[in-house]
């Protein structure tokens, strides 16, 4: 080894970051995603219009100088509504993913590490949850959380964690009998310390990869719920809602669909490609070539 210096070691995260930054597609997607998020946060302050200001006389106006994205059926400015809708869609996606992350990882690691009968009972429970009627659950959630839609989508996260739990469990089971875990047991580590010190840090890779793919999935789910009229409620708007309203009016007022759909697809595109890039960067096997 060359003369050792005091600088801290190149942790796996730095290696992963270096590999990720070389993947042009992932970087471009990352930039696009950040741009869209920034635009959604900052955008609405740029124009004088507010999201809910209805001006009935100027409804269904095509994109023009004063209304950059045109107006909707109540004459509300689509530029502001698309961006503020974006905030909600992104918040929904991230929030539900966070909830699913926490529960999924906890559930998966416990089931994976303890194994045996506990494991099969916990995973059987996950199978059952998979087939419960989703629409009924959403209606119930809407009734219980009728005021606050954020809680509603945190609850949606309660449904999304199932796949995450399965992935984490699979990883933990495979890591459980690797030698460094056995060494930890030999050193007298307690079960919890083993889970949090040894197992979870090594499971973070696939968890992050799946998380970046859950965010778009939840955003799509929110859009489907809006289609059923169960999702975000007026006067708030979300990409799902806007796309829904626009989808049927393509041949009459195409811009109602165009702008939200572009933002929505761009976000999904970039998130999916970031997810792919992370998979190549974090997964040691694939970095071999």
């Amino acid at each position: 080894m060359t003369a050792a210096d005091q600088t801290p070691g190149a942790s796996l995260w730095r290696d992963a970051w270096r590999r990720l930054s070389r993947n042009r597609l992932a970087v471009a997607s990352g930039v696009a995603f950040i741009l869209v998020t920034l635009l959604c946060v900052v955008g609405p302050f740029v124009t004088s219009y507010t999201a809910n200001h209805a001006d009935l006389k100027s409804s269904y106006q095509p994109p023009s100088t004063n209304h950059w994205f045109g107006t909707d059926h109540l004459g509300r400015d689509l530029f502001v509504r698309t961006l503020s809708g974006g905030r909600i869609s992104l918040a929904v996606g991230i929030l539900a993913t966070a909830v699913s992350l926490v529960i999924g990882v906890a559930w998966g690691s416990i089931a994976g590490y303890f194994g045996g009968r506990l494991d099969s009972v916990m995973m059987r429970f996950v199978d059952i949850l998979y087939s419960l009627p989703f629409v009924i659950m959403v209606i119930l959630l809407m009734v219980w959380f009728e005021r606050n839609f954020l809680l509603l989508f945190a609850a949606i996260g309660l449904v999304e964690w199932l796949t995450m739990a399965r992935i984490v469990r699979g990883q933990v089971v495979s890591l459980k009998n690797t030698e460094f875990v056995e060494a930890a047991r030999a050193l007298g580590y307690s079960r919890l310390r083993i889970i949090f010190r040894h197992l979870l840090p090594n499971v973070i890779g696939p968890v992050i990869i799946y998380a970046t793919l859950t965010v778009p999935a939840v955003m799509l789910l929110e859009a489907v719920l809006s289609f059923l009229g169960l999702g975000v409620q007026a006067p708030m708007s979300s990409w799902g809602l806007l796309i829904n309203e626009g989808a049927e009016k393509i041949d009459v007022y195409p811009w109602l669909l165009a702008f939200p759909a572009v933002f929505f697809s761009l976000t999904l595109f970039s998130l999916n490609f970031i997810g792919d890039g992370l998979r190549d960067a974090l997964d040691p096997k694939s970095s071999k070539d």
Partner: protein, 579 residues
Amino acid sequence: MPLLEVDNLKTWFHTRDGVVRAVDGISFTLEKGQILGIVGESGSGKSVTVHSLMGLVPSPPGRLESGTAQFDGSDLLQSAQRELRTLRGKRIAMIFQDPMTSLNPYLRISEQLIEPLVIHEDASREAAMPRAIEMLEKVGIHDAAERVHSYPHEFSGGMRQRVMIAMALITNPEILIADEPTTALDVTVQAQILRLLKELQTDLGVSVIFITHDLGVVAEIADNIAVMFRGKIVEQGSVLSIFENPKHPYTKGLLACRPRLDSTFTILPTVADYLEIIETGDGETELLEKEPDLVQPEPEKKVVGENEESLLEVRDLSVHFPVHKSLWRGASESVKAVDGISFKIYKGHTLGLVGESGCGKTTTGRAILKLVEPTAGEIRFDRDYLQHLPPEAMLPYRKRMQIIFQDPYASLNARLTLEQTITEPMHVHGLAHSHAERRDRAVALLEEVGLEAAFLRRYPHEFSGGQRQRLCVARALALEPEFIVCDEAVSAMDVSVQAQVLNLLKELQSRRGLTYIFISHDLSVVKFMADTMAVMRAGKIVEHGESEAIYANPRDEYTQQLIEAIPRDSVESIRQRVG
């Protein structure tokens, strides 16, 4: 006219972190009907050499810089992929190291066997089948007709290697390249495969390039040898001349540092005693000869006091793993990994546990430390019985008993720095008061195992295999244990690194009065390390006693077979063979 003449072959890998000169200008010739042994440690470029000849080097990172390889009038290195493909598997065949993964698990043996015939001779399935069965019998698989249609996972490691050989020789090629074919096999199976290869070579007259890191194997089979070190051939010649008077310091070091049955070293010489490596400028290295001063301390005879208590005593220990465990019916039958073994170890001694894979030696080591629940039997450690203790009660014994594993890459958590890996066990057991004091102890441990203090803030993936194993030793010592189980601690390492680690373990034993159980499948390594020895087979101990006595005249028939299977690499035996 040599069958194959390779001249100034250079294959470099252009990776993102700079150019790796895997093969840096080597030349050698392969005579017809001869076996050329290419010996070198991991990373010496021996595999890349043959892969370059066959055009199997993945092109984006790897690139052929220069060199020619004349075979039957045409230069292999310049010929287009399509021409090379007509040669591969037809006139030059190849077999690989790990039989477990080298056969396609999804296809039947028969389909994979006849594939070379289908590709090169356009043979139909029916025409090719009888030749495949005949080939299988030739490589020593009896009742081949039935077994030909089964799948790879239904064969043992040795059987699969035989299938690989049959697959390679079915088109009776002119050259067979064997890339470490026996490395992953047990010593008895290795002996059979080597004998098979020898017979087939003389019988079919095929010339063989045999690549290995094990000098013993090469001594047993090769006619000529080429020794490779860091991409270059440092010495080439007939097997007898190389073994009798090696000229290059690296070769000398390599020959000396290997523990052998008849060697009487108490401290193994290492390559570093013979060779000094100086890094000059742009990645070039200067090799200087060093005069080894092999001062050998007197081997202190360990003697057991009359009424001295044994530190660890195991009586009738057995560990059974249930198979087909189902919710309702409970375990129906079980695998008896360890089936009633007993032994004693005295303080400061080393007990060698020897046996082939699957004999239960690893499970025994794990059971003693309660990493695996023993099914029956007693484990007494310094007057306390451990077998019934619940996990929490094991904590004080966790401090006094430790374990070192085989695979250095898997036994260190990649996400923790060295400092965290070593200091945390102290924190768990509350050994030191402050983090600073724990840090100082860690530094002392690193130096004791021969690593620099500055490495504390580094991560495991930045170190070589040998260094990582030293880290594992340091981690084990963090709790100042009295007893350490070394489970195949050196099996995964090259010979030169192996010697350094073995010397370290011996030094620590004498300095700290440690007691070892040394588990290994390599009898020569066990001979060097162990005072007393136990040979295990199918979960039982077949022979137990002083290691010297057992090596001198093994009583049990299986032990004899094991010792017999160790490749003969003394100069007399080579002279006898080559004549």
